[in-house]
């Protein structure tokens, strides 16, 4: 099977799986297996490359967060199965993106300012993770840089893995909403994070 057919199957199986979850029909095991298998095959295909085709980026970026959010719509065993599926995919994705490869793209200069903005104040995402809330001023600065990066790469056919990793962090900001609302009991902070996520979502997804 060639790369484009594999990629098509990967994207299609993810869409089918998420559509069924959204309709309340539970986890479609066969679509999930297909999704995992095709991703495994694509991972070995792209193992030695520092970038991936643009068509696959959205799927790789969104799948964990989407599965995790849909798990919240279900109960008991079905919920557990969806979370397990999400975690399985996350583990595979981390391995895939952490491969050390020679960088062919001049991505450092493009993302330098974004990485710098994220790293300020002990790290934007680190602070979020630790329950210290969202620094709005820092977010605005980050958002400007994010806009610059996403506008720049919107015409690229291949996206560097380092940028995909950054985009995933932004997409998964949505997972902090419930964490702040329920675990940290900070509804106002949760609200701010939700608004920030929606802006980020429109910028990186559509």
């Amino acid at each position: 099977m060639n790369e484009s057919v594999l990629m098509e199957e990967f994207i299609e199986s993810e869409i089918n799986m998420l559509t069924e979850l959204r309709m309340g029909n539970g986890l479609d095991r066969s679509e999930y297996e297909k999704c995992i298998q095709t991703f495994k095959d694509l991972s070995s295909w792209w193992k030695k490359e520092d970038s991936i085709p643009e068509e696959a980026v959205l799927t790789i970026m969104e799948i964990y967060a989407e599965l995790y959010l849909f798990a919240g719509n279900y109960k008991d065993d079905e919920k557990e199965a969806i979370i397990e599926a999400a975690e399985h995919f996350k583990k595979m994705r981390e391995q895939f993106l952490s491969n050390e490869v020679m960088q062919e793209h001049d991505q450092d200069s493009l993302i330098r300012n974004l990485v710098k903005a994220i790293g300020e104040n002990n790290g934007f995402f680190v602070q979020l993770e630790q329950g210290k809330g969202m620094n709005e001023e820092q977010f605005e600065k980050i958002f400007l840089e994010l806009e610059h990066v996403t506008n720049e790469i919107s015409t690229w056919e291949r996206i560097p893995k380092s940028i995909v990793t950054l985009l995933i962090s932004f997409y998964e900001m949505t997972l902090y909403v419930d964490k702040y609302k329920y675990d940290f009991n900070m509804p106002l902070e949760a609200d701010k994070i939700y608004d920030a996520y929606e802006r980020v979502f429109a910028q990186i997804a559509g």
Binding site: M23, G24, E78, D178, F201, Q203, A205, G206
Partner: protein
């Protein structure tokens, strides 16, 4: 006279069901008797083989008769089993209807049930299962008052795109947008009214309204229309956003901007009101 009702009904039912069993039985692939007569019993000149032919024909005939008798026996066996089942079913049915009451009450109960069934069929006939031109449906929240019209949850959130509304709109934490979700499919509305997909498909019984798009004054977007999808359901890179398109197609989604005037609304009610008690997603 009433005492004769069940035996007469039973006899009629038996006669009706026995009829097929008294038809000539023939197994698949077995030659029928006419074929045997026309092929095996060939009238030839009397020669040495004639008696042999007759004899083998009779053997064949007896075999067929034996088979036929076996078939009849088998058929009678089936008939008796069937009658047994039938009587059992009738007994059960009578027990269900009568609950140890008198025959008159039983008949009244039966008539009531038939009346209810007729009403139910009439109700079903009125439910539009096929999408109708310019008609859409919406399952409304308890805090919405259709007599006053329906209003977008967050009209001030202009920045929320149509794709963003479709992607995030069904999530419990969604803060709303200037769009109001509706569906072209009554079936989708019915399912959403009876099962809460955000809570493990738990049972619910929400109101469904019907909206006449001819009376809607604001802009609306039929998200199942390929041209509309090409315009609004696209990714940041301007490419078709297939996942969101699938969501819209599956839900037969149509978005209306800002508000729906009360004149455009017909309240269909809660599923339990027009179909009785129902389970989640069930349509009886």
């Amino acid at each position: 006279m009433k005492k004769l009702l069940y035996p007469i009904l039973l006899s009629l039912l038996m006669a009706l069901f026995l009829n097929p069993f008294f038809q000539p039985q023939q197994a698949f692939g077995e030659p029928n008797y006419t074929d045997i007569a026309s092929t095996d019993l060939v009238v030839e000149d009397a020669d040495e083989g004639f008696l042999e032919d007759i004899s083998s024909w009779f053997d064949g005939l007896w075999e067929n008769i034996d088979d036929a008798i076996d078939g009849v026996k088998e058929a009678f066996g089936e008939i008796f089993d069937f009658i047994g089942d039938l009587i059992g079913s009738i007994d059960e049915a009578i027990a269900v209807f009568t609950e140890d009451t008198s025959e008159e009450e039983a008949i009244n109960n039966l008539n009531d049930t038939l009346d209810q069934a007729e009403e139910f069929i009439e109700d079903i006939k009125n439910i539009p299962l096929e999408p109708k031109e310019n008609i859409v449906y919406r399952v409304i929240r308890e805090d919405e008052d259709p007599d006053k019209g329906i209003f977008a949850k967050a009209p001030e959130r202009e920045e929320i795109t149509i794709a963003g509304h479709v992607n995030n709109g069904s999530r419990p934490g969604f803060k709303g947008s200037k769009y109001i979700s509706t569906t072209k499919s009554f079936q989708v509305a019915f399912e959403n009214a009876t099962k809460n997909i955000n809570d493990g498909n738990s049972s619910q019984d929400l109101r469904i309204i019907q909206i006449d798009l001819n009376k809607v004054t604001n802009k609306y977007y039929d998200l199942t229309d390929p041209e509309t999808q090409d315009k609004y359901l696209v990714s940041k890179a301007g490419k078709p956003w297939q996942r969101v398109r699938n969501y819209a197609n599956k839900s037969q989604e149509l978005l209306i901007e800002y508000s729906i005037p009360k004149e455009a609304i017909t309240i269909l009610g809660r599923p339990s009101e027009f179909l009785g008690d129902i389970g989640p997603g069930e349509s009886k």
